[in-house]
Symmetry: C2
């Protein structure tokens, strides 16, 4: 679904400058947001400017679901939100309506796990307003690794940190649910007929 | 608790060779295990040999709890298990005995989140047999980033991938628990007195 959001590949002979965010205001904003606490704060602004050079600007219409849960195609990219709001939802089998996990705004990253593993999307993302964003594809990441390996290493460290923070948060929630089900199990046991 | 497992820092003038795993059999094993499916399979063996150069060999006695849940000191390292078994446990408030999360063996990584964020340990690790391992400290990682940035970038990508895989697994479990508690809630509702 998302492939249409990618610009046509520029010929290799043009070099990577062809991929860059040309509008310098957008590039500056993207670099500043990459180092903000919500995105990848361990990068320096200088590092972030190098990363932005490998990103593509993009606009998403309000209401467009640009990442679909379970999607297996074209998943190898991440998005930095420059402006607008994105609703992240997941489907829980027992409910008819999807469950909203979070709402993301300026400076948030979306889909960074897909950038790494290209696995099916774990949630759906819908633009709840017009969204302006910058995209880093896996291919651009590979080029960054070859051309600016130290910046790539710092970027990967920062992305890994973000995912680790989500994992710690998730593990805490899981522990809470384990306890909750134990309490509920006891409740059900106490009330069992006979 | 773990600081005692680290060798005394070698003088900076000795350079990083002083930190290396000197026994070549151990070094070969460590490199092979780093690229195995259980550790960081996206590294090449050549990359892994470079990483191993920055690791320290270590032995852990059977029964020693070498990582303690909640520990905030000396958490910035990860361990590659070369031989032996490690039991990973967590404390659930409602139980008196800790819950075993998993048992890890040769080729497994332990504590890779600590390497990244230095946050309190999320689980305890006990050697259930004598364990031979190789340690990568945060300081060694920083040196690897400066001296071999491309290998560091690949290592960080591989570590991020591993954490992403754990997060996806964890998110699936969390979804299952959300459904389970919904079903149990209904069960309790149905049986409510009156």
């Amino acid at each position: 679904m998302f492939y249409k959001f990618f610009k046509k590949k520029s010929p290799a002979t043009l070099g990577h400058r062809a991929r860059t965010i040309e509008n310098s205001f957008t590039a500056d904003l993207a670099a500043e947001l990459l180092v903000a606490p919500t995105a990848l704060m361990r990068l320096t602004l200088e590092d972030a400017r190098v990363v932005v050079h490998y990103m593509q600007p993009h606009r998403i219409d309000e209401g467009a679901t640009f990442i679909k849960e379970g999607d297996t195609r074209d998943t190898a990219f991440m998005i930095l939100i420059l402006d607008g709001e994105v609703t992240v939802e997941t489907i829980v089998v027992s409910r008819t309506e999807p469950v909203t996990i979070t709402v993301l705004g300026r400076g948030s990253l979306v889909g960074e796990m897909g950038l790494l593993d290209g696995e099916p999307r774990s949630a759906s993302c819908t633009a709840s307003s017009p969204v302006s964003c910058a995209i880093l594809s896996r291919q651009a990441l590979e080029e960054l690794m070859q051309e600016n390996p130290l910046v790539a290493a710092k970027l990967m460290l920062a992305v890994a940190l973000r995912i680790a923070a989500r994992l710690r948060d998730n593990a805490d929630k899981l522990k809470m649910y384990v306890q909750l089900t134990q309490v509920m199990q006891q409740e059900i046991g106490h009330r069992a007929p006979g």
